[in-house]
Symmetry: C2
Subunit: 341 residues, 2 copies
C-alpha cells in the first residue's frame, strides 16, 4: 500500500474535508501524547495526558483547522501536491536531508498542519474551561460528558492550561525547516487571538453580560473577541504559512471577520432551534442563563437574515483576495452558515 | 533628572536586585495593561485586566525574573551598560532608527526584560489557578486575598488563561530587533517548561499524590516538573537572550536544576517552620492537606542538609560555566536557600 495520501483535486469539498480531517486527526493523535514528549527529559504524566486527549480527540467539527489548511492552500496553490501522514515525517526529513531545498513545499505543509492543530488545541482548552462549574457549568460536550465531569475539576483546569502551552510548543518545533520568522509570527497571532484582547477577553465580557441588555454593537464586540478572534486568526495563520501579499492578507482578514461573526449568529440561532442530541451539547442554555444573543436581540427571522448578510460579506472579501482558487474557503463559509450543529 | 537608570557595578547584590526589580515592575505595569493592546483593533476588557493586574503587580519575590536577568547578564557582560526605562523604549527606537546596528545591546536587553516578565506571567497565572477552590482552595496569597476571592472564580480562571497567552505575546513583539530565531526559541523553552511535561504536569502529579507515600525519587520528579521546570527555564531563557556556548548552556542547565529543587525543599521546610504572616500565604497547608513533602519524607534536619547539598551542586555547576562573572547568580542561589518566605 502506498503510504502517501494524495488529496483529490479541490473540486469536491467533501473529499477535501475528509482528507484534511484525516491528516488533522492523525497529527493531533501523535502530538497530544506522552510519546510526543519522549525527546524531552521529562514526560507528561499519563493521567493529565488522558484528560488532554479526551478533550481534543474524536470530536468536534475541526472548523478552525480546516480554515487554517484552506487558507494555506488558497495562498500557495501548487505547493501542496502531496501530503505525507505525520507519522512518516521524521523518516522523510531524514531521507531528504535537512538542507534539501526541495523540501520547501513539504515544510510549508508542516507549518500549516502544526498551525491547524495549535489553533484546535486553543479551541479545545477554551471549551474545557468554559464548561467548568464556575463558568457555564455544562455536563455535555460533543455528545460526551465534559472533561471535569469525567476527570474532576482540578484535572480539567490543568488539562486546559497544558493544552494552551502545547499549542505554542507545536508552533515552535526544533530541528525543522519552518523559518523562525514564521514560527514567531504564528505565535504572535495565536497569543493575541487567544488572550485578553481576544478569546479570553470575549469570555470575560460574556460573563459580565449575563442578565444585561446589550446593544447590537456591544454584542458584536463581545463575539468578535469571544469566537471571532480565533476563527479569524485561523484564516490569517493559515495564510501566514505561505507568502500572501498585503492585499491578500487584508481581504482574508475581512473574510475571517465576517465568517467569525456569522458563526456566532448561527450558534445563537441553533441554540434556539436545534435539540441537544443534534448539537452534541445542551441546547437552550443561552435563554436559560439569560445571556444576550442575536436571537434575543433581533429575533429569529432578523438573525437569519443577518447571517446571510455576513455570508455575502465573506464572499465579497474572498473576491478581493486576488487568489486564483478560493473554492474551498467559499465552501467552508457556506458550511458555517448552513450548519445544523 | 536623567531618565536613564544606570545600574551599579554588580558587586552589591542588593543594589542590583533593587534596580532590576524596578525595571521589572515598570515593565509589568506597562505590559499588563489595557493600553498595551491599544495598537490592536480590540482592547482587553477593563475588568479582566483588573484581575490580571491584581494577580501580577505589587507582589511576589520576582525570583524568576531575577534569574532571567542575572543569567542574561552573566552570559553577556559588557552589553548592558545602561538601561532605559521601558516607557521610553518607543522613543529610543524611533531615535536610533530600526536598523541601527548599535542598538544590539539595547535590544538584547529588551529580549531579557520581556523574557523576565513572560516567565513571571506564567508563574502568576499558575498561582491564580492553583489557589482556586478546585485545586488548593487558598484564600491568602502574598498577604492579599487570592484572585478568586477578590474577583470570583470565573474571572480568576479567565485571568489565568489570559496571563498565559500574554506571556507568549510578550516574547513575540512585532517591529523589534529581537531576532525571530530568538523569539521562537524563547517560546519553545517557555511552552515546554509551562506545559504537560513541565509545570502543569508537576501540578497534576501533585494532585494525584495527596495522601500517598511517595519515594524520594517520585517526590523529586514531581518537584522537578512543578517548580523546577520554570525556575530552570528562567535561567536557560535568560542565557538564550545572549549567545552562550553549548558548554555554558549545559552548566547553567545543571545550575537551574539544582536551585529549582533547592527552592522546593526550602518551601517545604518553610511550610513547617514559618508562620502565615511571614510567608504571605497560609502556612502548614501541606500537612493539613496530607501532601508528601521533603520534610514529611526525610524529616526537618535531613531536609535542611539536602537544601545545603543542592546549594553546593548549584555553585559547582556555576564554576563549570566558564563565565567571567557569576556573582549575581551565586547571590541569587544563596537567597533561594536562605530565604525566610
Amino acid at each position: 500500500m502506498d503510504a502517501r495520501v494524495t488529496p483529490p483535486a479541490p473540486l469536491d469539498l467533501n473529499d477535501w474535508i475528509a482528507a484534511q480531517l484525516d491528516r488533522v486527526e492523525r497529527a493531533l493523535n501523535q502530538w497530544v501524547s506522552v510519546d510526543a514528549s519522549a525527546d524531552m527529559e521529562h514526560h507528561a504524566p499519563a493521567d493529565l495526558m488522558a484528560a488532554m486527549r479526551y478533550a481534543v480527540l474524536d470530536g468536534g467539527k475541526r472548523l478552525r483547522p480546516l480554515l487554517v489548511l484552506a487558507a494555506f492552500e488558497a495562498v500557495s496553490s501548487g505547493l501542496t501536491d502531496d501530503y505525507l501522514p505525520v507519522e512518516e515525517w521524521d523518516e522523510e526529513i531524514a531521507r531528504r536531508g535537512a538542507a534539501d531545498p526541495d523540501a520547501a513545499g513539504f515544510m510549508s505543509g508542516e507549518a500549516a498542519l502544526r498551525t491547524a492543530c495549535a489553533v484546535e488545541l486553543i479551541h479545545a482548552y477554551s471549551l474545557v474551561h468554559d464548561d467548568m462549574p464556575c463558568m457555564d457549568n455544562d455536563v455535555l460536550r460533543r455528545g460526551k460528558p465534559t472533561v471535569h465531569v469525567q476527570f474532576g475539576e482540578a484535572s480539567a483546569l490543568l488539562a486546559g492550561d497544558a493544552l494552551q502551552a502545547l499549542a505554542f510548543e507545536l508552533l515552535t518545533p526544533e530541528g525543522t525547516q519552518i523559518e523562525p520568522i514564521k514560527q514567531a509570527h504564528l505565535c504572535r497571532l495565536l497569543a493575541r487571538a487567544a488572550g485578553c484582547a481576544g478569546m479570553a477577553g470575549g469570555q470575560a465580557i460574556d460573563l459580565a453580560s449575563v442578565g444585561l441588555q446589550l446593544s447590537e454593537d456591544q454584542l458584536r464586540e463581545m463575539h468578535r473577541l469571544k469566537t471571532g478572534a480565533l476563527l479569524q486568526a485561523s484564516v490569517m495563520m493559515g495564510a501566514a504559512c505561505g507568502e500572501p501579499t498585503p492585499a491578500t492578507q487584508a481581504a482574508l482578514q475581512a473574510f475571517g471577520a465576517a465568517i467569525g461573526l456569522a458563526f456566532q449568529v448561527v450558534d445563537d440561532i441553533l441554540d434556539v432551534t436545534a435539540d441537544s442530541s443534534t448539537l452534541g451539547k445542551t441546547a437552550g442554555k443561552d435563554a436559560e442563563q439569560d445571556k444576550p444573543t442575536y436571537v434575543s436581540l433581533m429575533g429569529l427571522a432578523r438573525a437569519r437574515t443577518y447571517a446571510q448578510t455576513l455570508h455575502g460579506q465573506a464572499l465579497s472579501a474572498l473576491a478581493r483576495t486576488g487568489l486564483a482558487d478560493t473554492r474551498i474557503l467559499r465552501g467552508l463559509a457556506a458550511m458555517v452558515v448552513e450548519r445544523s450543529n
